[in-house]
Amino acid sequence: MHAFLTGPLFYISLAVCLGGMIFRFYKYFTGLSWQLDRVAYKEYPMMGLKGAWRSIYKWLIPYGTYGWRQQPVMAAAFFAFHIGAVCIPLFLAGHNVFLKEKLGFSLPMLGACAADIISWLAIAGLCVLVLRRLVLPEVRILTDRKDWGVLLLSFLPFATGLLARYQVGDYGLWLNLHILSGELVLLAIPFTKLSHVFLFFASRAQLGMDFGIKRGGLKGTPMAW
């Protein structure tokens, strides 16, 4: 079982995730139409790039936008969770040992203490996101089963990972469940709302180009996100 999870299934899920997302990126950008979207993308590539970049990085900075500052609790929960969701899979020491073994390269590694803190913050952030969905009427009305599915999918790797890390009960079982849930996330990314992992950049870039080219950018007034 362990061999299958760390062998074929790992390669398959990674390939599906990356291949699927390259395809979706391709479909997204070839599906943009200057006339339907009413944005002259190709005529002003530099203004477009500037707008796209601005639109992305401003929103990646905690409290970097007016929108984030308007909703400080949501912003805190969002960044607590997403910093973990990006940093832990990519930079956890254990993951990189595995990566080196499987793919022959590794990424910078987090210290054990930092990894613990980031993980627990992610769990805490996720709890607030769940709480919002349960409590706030404006979020509740939007919430459907898929949203819960995505939250569960995102929660499982953290939960199983921490259970394995603290060796609660059967370490081997938690480890296998952890690997499986991580691979499920990879497999789900191209086909579910988890696609936002990549499509966030596409969508933000598009709106950035829209404002950078059409809605004020050419007037010299970049959008004050």
Binding site: W34, Q35, V39, E43, Q70, I141, L142, G217
Partner: protein, 465 residues
């Protein structure tokens, strides 16, 4: 009854068609007929497949249902935060459902969608600035309006408005002759006060081609005279086109893209015919959006720009004051608390966030200008944008929507609201009527004329006693 006599899928293309529909007072029969108007699901789905591409589809798909757009919507705030007014919900439960069901939706569904598209969104695009994913619900509502228009589910006034553009190339039944006559007549009225005042018609190669909102010719002709006076005092070489003078587009509010194209092309034809250096439009927000921001795309102009540089009235006014073409008498500056209404259509959606403030720095005695909160690109819609002001069927909803602007104005303590936009001007007039908060409202032109320091040679010569 699949297609009604008044309510049907066919756009109005004749003057008789407009008269007939206008005769149905307030659209009583029109809305009655709409209850049995058939939905052409095949056409709906085909149109979606042809026109709903990756941008909108991705928006609908990746919406995280986080609800962060809620507070950005003035209609959500004005309606006691009912969750049905959350932008993401509004679009998912209309356009989202139509796509999910591949166009197989009921008559009742389409009528509800019409209510959401015209009475629960003004396409102010504010929510687009507050979505982490960059989802602009206002754009999607514009798109949805097009689908609803094609199926005949469009408010009565919008159907008429789009028809007006198709028939008269103007939002009202004003012919070229009527327009030029009105302009000339208004100028004559002011000739004695401003010697040499004229309205140059169809002059080629002028520096400025001036375009207007048809209702100025119909209901507020002083506005035409005021524009002439200011160009005259500033010494501008300007002209008006006898054809292609209408800058607005109710067709844009209606979602009638064919009429949008036809309308804006009439303006671009005038530019190409008269070859002015610049076009300057009147103090109107949606007119600017229609003819300068969106128009080039409807007309198929790949560079996204009109044939000649086109600017909003406030851009010209700021320039004229900056360059000293117009001089303000400091003694006549505004000395009462005054605030400014930023128009979504050229501030949030075309970046002109500081221009009107520059103008006010000349017009208002320091210390008397109080900005609204939020302001500039973050300002709330006046409450009547996107056609909302003009739809009798949704008047009650519109009046509720005005509460947010009322409270913003009250918080400034201003007694005068400057609104360089026809829609905003109307909404603020209506909110005063509705809530009686004791404010006055004004365009810029009449205020500037009151305060002008006119050079002696342009003043009327006093007769010898």
């Amino acid at each position: 009854m699949p297609e009604g006599k008044y309510c049907n899928k066919t756009p109005i293309t004749t003057a008789e068609g407009i008269t007939d529909l206008l005769a149905d007072k307030s659209g009583a029969k029109y809305y009655e007929e709409m209850k049995s108007l058939e939905v052409d699901s095949d056409l709906l789905w085909k149109t979606i497949q042809n026109t709903c591409k990756s941008r909108i589809r991705t928006w609908l798909e990746i919406c995280a249902h986080c609800g962060m757009c809620a507070d950005s919507c003035f209609l959500y705030l004005a309606n006691d935060r009912v969750p049905e007014q959350v932008p993401a919900y509004k679009i998912q439960s209309t356009l989202g459902t139509i796509i999910k069901k591949k166009g197989k939706v009921s008559n009742k569904f389409m009528r509800d969608a019409m209510r959401v598209a015209w009475a629960q969104c003004t396409c102010c695009n504010r929510c687009g600035m507050y979505c982490p994913h960059g989802i602009d619900t206002g754009i999607m509502f514009g798109y949805l309006r097009g689908l609803l228009y094609q199926q005949g589910f469009v408010p009565w006034e919008m159907k008429i408005g789009a028809g007006m553009h198709r028939v008269y190339n103007a939002q009202m039944d004003i012919s070229s002759e009527d327009y030029v006559d009105t302009f000339e007549w208004m100028v004559e009225e002011y000739e004695d006060d401003y010697p040499g005042l004229t309205v140059p018609v169809d002059v080629e190669d002028a520096d400025i081609m001036y375009t207007v909102n048809a209702r100025e010719a119909k209901h507020y002709p002083e506005d035409l005279a005021e524009a002439a006076i200011l160009f005259h005092i500033a010494g501008e070489n300007w002209t008006i086109p006898s054809k292609g003078w209408e800058q607005t587009s109710l067709a844009m509010f209606a979602g009638d893209w064919v009429a949008c194209k036809q309308q804006v092309e009439s303006v671009y034809d005038a530019m190409e015919r008269l070859r002015p250096k610049r076009m300057i439009g009147t103090e109107c927000g949606h007119a600017h959006r229609a003819s300068v921001v969106e128009g080039p795309y409807w007309a198929g102009r790949k560079d996204g720009r009109p044939p000649v540089e086109s600017i909003h009235y406030i851009e010209w006014l700021a320039e004229a004051l900056r360059e000293g073409k117009l001089k303000i008498d400091p003694a006549k500056r505004i000395k009462q608390p005054v605030t400014l209404q930023d128009s979504c259509n050229y501030v949030r959606n075309h970046g002109l966030r500081d221009t009107a403030r520059e103008i006010l720095s000349y017009l208002v005695e320091p210390g008397y200008f109080i900005d609204m909160d939020p302001r500039k690109q973050h300002n709330f819609c006046c409450g009547g944008g996107g056609g909302f002001n003009g739809i009798g069927y949704f008047r009650k909803e519109r009046n509720v929507g005005l509460k947010v602007k009322r409270d913003q104005i009250l918080a400034t303590g201003a007694k005068l609201v400057i609104a360089p936009c026809h829609n905003c001007w109307d909404a603020i007039r209506d909110l005063e009527e509705e809530f009686e908060i004791g404010i006055k409202w004004s365009f810029l032109k009449p205020l500037v004329i009151e305060m002008l320091d006119i050079p002696d040679h342009l003043k009327p010569q006093e007769e010898d006693e």
